[in-house]
């Protein structure tokens, strides 16, 4: 990894580029994500066992999800409903679909085939808009079954070090939707934003609880690189074992460096599956198999086609909650900011409060600041937006300092009282200027050297001493002074003094 210098070039906007230190060539990253998410149903995909995480091993099992001889699958209605909700939220068209068997042996897969949708998936051809405005295509979002879980025992814990494994089939047959994104992502941060946005959609539609740490949301990244300006896609590697957004970003960055390094030294990228090793900070090839996979897909004869009628699709559309992108756009319009600037409020689910407070006359900037940073998400729902607008008003009128406003806000959430009443009861009133002048007189007199330094020093020294004096005032007034006002008064005095 020596020949490559990795840079993020902001000039190129959203794109993440790798510049070769040897050739000076500039490469871009091309990423497509495959996301598996477990659907939030009561029961499994094809049987009535509970879809529940964390049960005692092998207790949520029946002949169907254990793949016992003679058992047959029956499709869960709610799986179709949730898959369609997700599909429509991703602007996919819902198509007649069929299930297929993907045949390969693996001990956590009870039938030694996975029932999945292959050539006719339920949701096709949609997209997802990122907060930064990028539109990422969605090729398909299809239904399939999850596997059980292997625990590796008697070895180092890594699969190939284990002497044996123990299998729990509680997760076998849990419904999944696999969302296959198009290779439209050009930056690790975009990849993270995509997953974030997808998670927000999954939560908004109630399709999944989307917990990466519990494995109900799993991300694989197809990563390739190409010289900027090239239109053909490079050879990609599929990176697996990405257990957090941080891993996702790091793995893409690593993989891009690795591939550029290979290509720059005249080697080729081998199409393969690679595993991210978070500890080592690198990807490693999966053990290559003797021969290429041959899954022998064919239509699952134990299931019949799924053809949701137009009424069902229309009902899903009608019940669709407002999605994050629309909420961002709406708040942005109300607040006079960009959709990206509205993103945090929406992700914290406080956009409704913010919009109402702005509607009640609150200053948009201050309202958004409170909503983004000062309010805990829990309990904020009780907050009266009119009170929030009033609080912001007090701040702008100089009646409360920023520090005081934060304290008042916490009280507002706790008690539901009006900010003015809280401020009064707490003795929070921003000091008027004449009182502050008096305080300042005393402090300046008590620190003559610092005052001279402030008046005559260079910019750096003056900035440092400004902080010193503001701190002194704050301490003397127990935080009731407005820092901005103090700074202004100091500056007035200095100008008068020289």
């Amino acid at each position: 990894m020596t020949a490559v210098n990795l840079t993020h070039e902001p000039i190129e906007g959203e794109h993440f580029h790798v510049t070769s230190a040897t050739t000076g060539d500039v490469w871009e990253i091309v990423v497509g994500l495959e996301v598996h998410c477990e659907l939030a149903t009561a029961t499994k995909l094809f049987c009535s066992c509970p879809n529940h995480f964390g049960s005692e091993p092998n207790t949520n099992v029946c002949p169907v999800c254990l793949g016992l001889p003679g058992s047959l699958p029956v499709l869960n209605h709610q799986v179709v409903e949730l898959a369609m909700r997700l599909g429509r939220a991703l602007r996919c068209s819902v198509e007649p679909s069929v299930f297929a068997r993907k045949n390969y042996f693996y001990p956590d897969m009870p039938k030694d085939y996975q029932v999945s949708q292959f050539d006719r998936p339920i949701n096709v051809d949609g997209w997802l808009d990122l907060p930064d405005g990028t539109r990422v295509g969605v090729e398909r979002a299809h239904i399939e079954e999850d596997t059980g879980k292997n625990t590796h025992a008697g070895g180092s814990g890594r699969i190939h070090g284990a002497q044996y494994s123990l299998v729990d089939y509680n997760r076998a047959g849990v419904p999944l939707v696999e969302i296959v994104g198009r290779p439209h992502i050009r930056h690790p941060d975009q990849a993270k934003a995509y997953v974030d946005e997808l998670r927000a959609i999954l939560l908004a539609t109630g399709a999944s609880d989307a917990k990466m740490e519990e494995g109900s949301l799993r991300v694989d990244a197809n990563v390739s690189v190409r010289r900027v300006g090239d239109t053909a896609l490079g050879t990609r590697c599929e990176v697996k074992n990405l257990n957090s957004l941080r891993s996702l970003g790091r793995a893409i960055e690593y993989e891009a460096r690795r591939q550029v390094d290979l290509l720059e030294t005249g080697e080729r990228v081998k199409q393969e599956t690679r595993h991210w090793d978070e500890g080592a900070g690198r990807t490693r090839p999966g053990r290559s198999k003797e021969e290429a996979e041959d899954y022998r897909y064919f239509q699952e004869p134990d299931l019949v086609p799924l053809v949701p009628g137009p009424e069902w699709i229309a009902a899903v559309d009608a019940a669709m909650p407002e999605l994050p992108a629309a909420r961002r756009a709406r708040l942005a319009e109300t607040a006079g900011v960009t959709p990206a600037e509205a993103a945090i409020a929406v992700s914290r689910d406080l956009d409704g409060l913010a919009a109402a407070a702005i509607g009640a006359g609150g200053d948009p900037g201050r309202v958004l600041t409170h909503v983004e940073h000062d309010l805990a998400v829990d309990g904020a729902g009780n907050l009266d937006p009119i009170h929030l607008a009033a609080l912001v008003g007090l701040e702008l009128d100089g009646k409360l300092t920023a520090t005081q406003a934060k304290a008042v806000l916490a009280e507002m959430v706790a008690t539901g009282e009006h900010p003015e009443a809280i401020a009064q009861a707490s003795g929070f009133e921003a000091m008027d200027t004449s009182t502050l002048e008096g305080v300042l007189d005393e402090i300046v007199t008590g620190c003559p050297d610092e005052w001279v330094g402030y008046c005559e020093g260079d910019d750096k020294r003056r900035a440092k001493l400004q902080g010193f004096f503001v701190g002194k005032v704050m301490k003397a007034t127990k935080g009731r002074a407005d820092g901005k006002v103090v700074t202004a008064l100091l500056e007035q005095r200095r100008v008068a003094a020289v």
Partner: protein, 484 residues
């Protein structure tokens, strides 16, 4: 001891009326089993104790004035590919060594709910793959009509059990003829219902899109009785037909006057033994005598049925049989890694024919060959469905042989798999189309062994098919017992 009636219909009526006890019925049949089972080997397992316990309950209900149901006290033998809770279910394979399913197949629950008495699990070609029951890991079943000959297959044990008088009723499964062909060879009635009429839940799958469970009996009425008990919608089987089952037992005496019956020309020539053909023509004449119009009809795609079947069925089987991997149940042959354990287990657990079909099906589905083999076979299936539809525009029912020959000798066809496959040529088209068909005995062939004639009907055409079967049965010449 009261004399026990011979047919299921008569037994159920007598038990319900309190004229004979279920226990007496059972004991009479267990006595026949004692006498002949060593020769015939119809069963993998006789459930004498469980069956006695079940008769106690039926007899208690009769005594209490309750109705135990339409199969009250009737002994029923089950093909050993139907899951029975806590009772070994083997598919006649070593790979299921000692497996006790934790659940009952839907048909088993229905038989029991109707008052039927499960007397045992019958032998079959391993995983229902075969036409002679010679492919059983537990040794072949012998034809009760001639112990030197095969009973047919794969449901040879179920056919033999009824033919030998071990039980008046049995259940089999039919993927390419596995009920009808052994019924013909053993001289009993065997029915493959419309695909989806009988739940497959708990039937260990061979080829899911072709498998169908159906009855064996000595009379047409008995098969109707059992089919009424096991048929009808099951929410556990996605391919189960939702419509209520049509009445069968009550329509048997309606005759065939005015029905149009077509002889399938593709199945009435080359490859069919002349004595078998003669019996089919005689059955046609009997139907004509009863008022049916007889004609000839061509189902051209039927000639491709065998090829299509031997691509489709192994393909589905190769996937259905993957789960026998030594992980969760049944046989395990240990090895250092899971992949090696899977391979060692499957290699030791499956017999030759099963391996042959798994490999054939794996090949037909594999990359580069799917379109030429599996994909093409699915299109042939479309042609067969079309050709049948055309035939049923002109005819209500079709008539054909069930098996090209009467029962053959052990070992006659085991060396050449293809010659064995040819046994199914007349039965396969109905499976590919999902249509009902049944075999009815119609007297002896030249060798004195039973010949079955096959009635074919369009989907859900069981009622008409059974009416014609009753007419054929009534006209059938007696089968002279041949020397064993």
């Amino acid at each position: 001891m009261t004399s026990v009636p011979a047919t299921a219909v008569a037994i159920a009526a007598a038990v319900r009326a309190g004229e004979v006890s279920a226990r007496e019925v059972l004991d009479a049949h267990l006595a026949v089993i004692d006498e002949r089972e060593t020769d015939v080997h119809a069963f993998n397992l006789v459930l004498a104790d469980e069956a006695r316990a079940a008769t106690t309950e039926v007899d208690r209900r009769v005594a209490a004035g309750e109705d135990p149901g339409p199969l009250a006290g009737v002994p029923v033998a089950l093909k050993d590919n139907l899951c029975t809770r806590g009772i070994p279910t083997t598919c006649s394979s070593r790979i299921l060594d000692g497996w006790r399913p934790p659940y009952d197949a839907t048909v088993v629950s229905r038989v029991v709910a109707a008052g039927g008495i499960v007397v045992g699990k019958t032998n079959l070609d391993e995983f229902a793959m075969g036409s002679s029951t010679e492919n059983s890991a537990f040794g072949p079943t012998r034809n009760p009509r001639d112990l030197d000959r095969v009973p047919g297959g794969s449901s040879g044990g179920s056919a033999a059990a009824v033919a030998a008088g071990f039980a008046p009723l049995s259940l089999g499964s039919d993927t390419g003829g596995s009920i009808r062909q052994p019924a013909a060879l053993c001289g009993v009635v065997g029915v493959k219902p419309t695909y989806g009429l009988v739940s497959r839940y708990g039937l260990m799958a061979f080829a899911s899109s072709l498998d169908q469970i159906g009855p064996f009996s000595t009379t047409v009425a008995d098969s109707a009785l059992l089919l009424e008990a096991i048929g009808g919608h099951d929410p556990r089987d996605s391919t189960s037909i939702a419509e209520p089952l049509a009445a069968l037992t009550s329509v048997l005496d309606r005759g065939v006057a005015g029905l149009r019956v077509g002889l399938v020309s593709e199945l009435m020539g080359e490859g069919i033994a002349p004595d078998v053909l003669a019996r089919v023509h005689a059955a046609a004449a009997a139907l004509a005598a009863a008022g049916a119009e007889i004609g000839e009809v061509s189902v051209p795609a039927a000639s491709y049925g065998l090829s299509a079947y031997y691509l489709i069925a192994p393909a589905e089987a190769s996937s259905n049989l993957a789960r026998y991997d030594g992980v969760r149940f049944g046989l395990r042959v240990d090895a250092p890694t899971t992949a090696e354990m899977n391979e060692a287990t499957r290699t030791a657990g499956f017999g030759d024919e099963v391996k042959r079909r798994i490999m054939l099906g794996t090949y037909a589905l594999s990359a580069g060959y799917y379109d030429a083999y599996y994909g093409q076979a699915l299109k042939v299936r479309t042609l067969i469905v079309r050709d049948f539809a055309a035939a049923y525009e002109r005819f209500d029912l079709l008539l054909a042989p069930t098996s090209p020959t009467t029962a053959f000798r052990f070992g006659a066809k085991t060396a050449d798999p293809l010659s064995m496959y040819l046994n199914d040529v007349c039965t396969i088209p109905s499976n590919l189309a999902g249509h009902p068909a049944m075999s009815v005995p119609f007297g002896p062939g030249a060798d004195g062994l039973p010949v079955g004639v096959q009635l074919l009907a369009p989907a859900l055409g069981e009622a008409t098919m059974f009416r014609a079967a009753a007419v054929v049965e009534a006209a059938a010449p007696a089968l002279t017992e041949v020397a064993r």
